[in-house]
Amino acid sequence: MTEPALVVRSLCKNYGGFAVTRNVDLELPRGARHALIGPNGAGKTTLVGLISGAIAANSGTIELFGRDITTISAAQRVKQGLVRTFQVNSLFPRLSVFQNIFLACSEARGISQRMLGRTSGQKPIIGQVEAILELLGLSADAGRPVATIAYGRQRLVELGIALALEPRVLLLDEPAAGVPSVEVPLLINAIDRLGEDITILLIEHDMQIVQRFARTMTVLAEGQVIASGAPDVVMASEQVRSVYLGKSGHQRFESGKAHA
């Protein structure tokens, strides 16, 4: 039971001659709270795409709890407990909040094939959906079409869909992107409340969120890992500061630490 939750080895992705991901190694132990940061265009979202299976890698391997998942499809990876959220909301706009989460629950439980019986009769799933809505503070919006609720709350639905898929490893791609600052704590609190049985990789620009969330972190620049380890050590690295943060970024990191 000691093998890590997620191991990425020598992962490479090129678009023609342009290398977007270069020999990336990453290891997340179970229950990790790992942050992935890097300047724009560093290849963070590509890396999430590669790990989740949305993009095929050119070379390298990905292991989930000791099983090689490099060649299996995104849908199969979800079934194995590897779940991602999207940087830009990818929801079912005309369906209600409840239905968005129900869809994910019913796929995870394998009842989406059921042609007999009403949706309203699926009591165990409905209970599960309601628990997720409660956790994320979405109960009041349950009946509203997703397209009609505030963007920040749509981000919570995005997270809710991921949670409904019963993740063992959760890849959060900038969950707070586009969320008004007043609603950010809602999101962060929801992430904080997730159990230790879920291993989380967080991509985030906001250093205060990273500081609060991460126990370990990796910095990516131009497709390569330039530093990895405990946040304090990584942020103190000269290379990281020169490549990514600049002086102001480091100040924000320090102030975030003071607030935490």
Partner: protein, 331 residues
């Protein structure tokens, strides 16, 4: 307080509402009001059934196809050929017509349904045209341009004879229509029906929550083809004749027009639109045999401009307007 079931799935209804009961009383009323036009009325029911089958995949799964007549035509020819071969038990012959269409969908579905949007429309259009030409060339099976005539069937359930006035054909068709309507109604209300709506809204995301998107689509496509095949089989039985027009591209396109007219987004869209289209076309061609398309076209423009969702959309807006006013006047 009982929760509205539409909360769980927009396609779910709590029970048969007053409007629904009134709707289904219409075909029964038509039987008594127009006893001399029953063969025309049967045609109306068949087209409503065909449009409903297209509505199942278009409204709920977002599959836009221009080749749905392939299934209607296959069902019609299979049932006709069975009759000519001496197999004349009507219910199983109808069923086999639908089953043949379902088998065709099961074969071509996994290939077709990887496509979406315009490419899907073009490929289905081409397939429909190929089916039409194949039926035209294979005259020794299909009768070519002459079609297959003088089809005979045994009495329904061994009791009801097929009369020239068409009472049997009318109620036989209505029974199939209602049964398949109930099937469709419960299908779209199921978790599977909701999954289809998810695919319609965002197929990419459905795939990434682990849903077998193509598998779901093939399943509903096959069911829709089955219903279309039944509609074709019924037309062969009701008229005693099958001609090449059952495979025509016109028929596929007309079914789409019926849906737009009735309204997409509701299982009644195809039923209302199909019936309305056929009745309107008949009235218009009585009025002017050369320019009847003008009437249909004008009507379509008005409906699209007035309501986002066909005639059903207009009715829904009117009823909510009326009930809204009632609430205002009675505090």
């Amino acid at each position: 307080m009982s929760v509205d079931r539409a909360f769980y799935n927009a396609a779910e209804r709590n029970r048969f509402g007053l409007l629904e009961i009134l709707f289904w009383l219409c075909p029964i009323a038509a039987f008594f009001l127009f006893p001399t036009s029953l063969s025309f009325a049967t045609h109306v029911l068949i087209m409503a059934l065909f449009a409903m089958s297209l509505g199942l995949i278009l409204s709920f799964a977002g599959i836009v196809t221009l080749g749905h007549a392939a299934f209607f035509g296959l069902g019609a020819y299979v049932t006709a050929l069975l009759s000519l071969a001496g197999y004349q038990e009507p219910i199983t012959a109808t069923f086999l017509g639908g089953a043949a269409a379902a088998v065709l969908a099961l074969i071509i579905g996994p290939l077709l349904l990887r496509l979406t949007g315009l490419p899907l429309m073009m490929v289905t259009l081409a397939l429909g045209a190929v089916m039409f030409e194949a039926a035209n060339k294979l005259g020794w099976i299909t009768g070519g341009e002459n079609g297959l005539g003088d089809l005979r069937y045994q009495p329904v359930l061994g009791i009801f004879r097929w009369s020239i006035y068409g009472q049997t054909a009318y109620f036989y068709t209505l029974a199939w229509l209602f049964a398949l309507f109930l099937l469709t109604r419960s299908l779209v209300a199921s978790p599977f029906g909701l999954a289809l709506q998810g695919i319609r809204e965002n197929p990419l995301r459905m795939n990434l929550i682990g849903a077998p998107v193509t598998g779901h689509l093939v399943r509903v496509y096959t069911i829709s083809a089955f219903i279309a095949g039944i509609a074709g089989a019924l037309s062969a039985q009701a008229t005693g004749f099958v001609g090449l027009d059952v495979l025509s591209v016109d028929l596929s396109i007309n079914a789409l027009v019926m849906l737009v007219l009735g309204g997409v987004g509701n299982i009644y869209g195809g039923l209302v639109g199909g019936a309305l289209y056929i009745v309107l076309r008949n009235l218009a061609s009585d009025w002017n045999p050369y320019h009847w398309m003008f009437v249909i076209g004008a009507f379509l423009v008005v409906v699209v401009l007035l309501g986002q969702n066909g005639v059903i959309g207009i009715v829904e807006r009117l009823t909510s307007l009326i009930s809204g006013k009632r609430k205002e006047t009675s505090p």
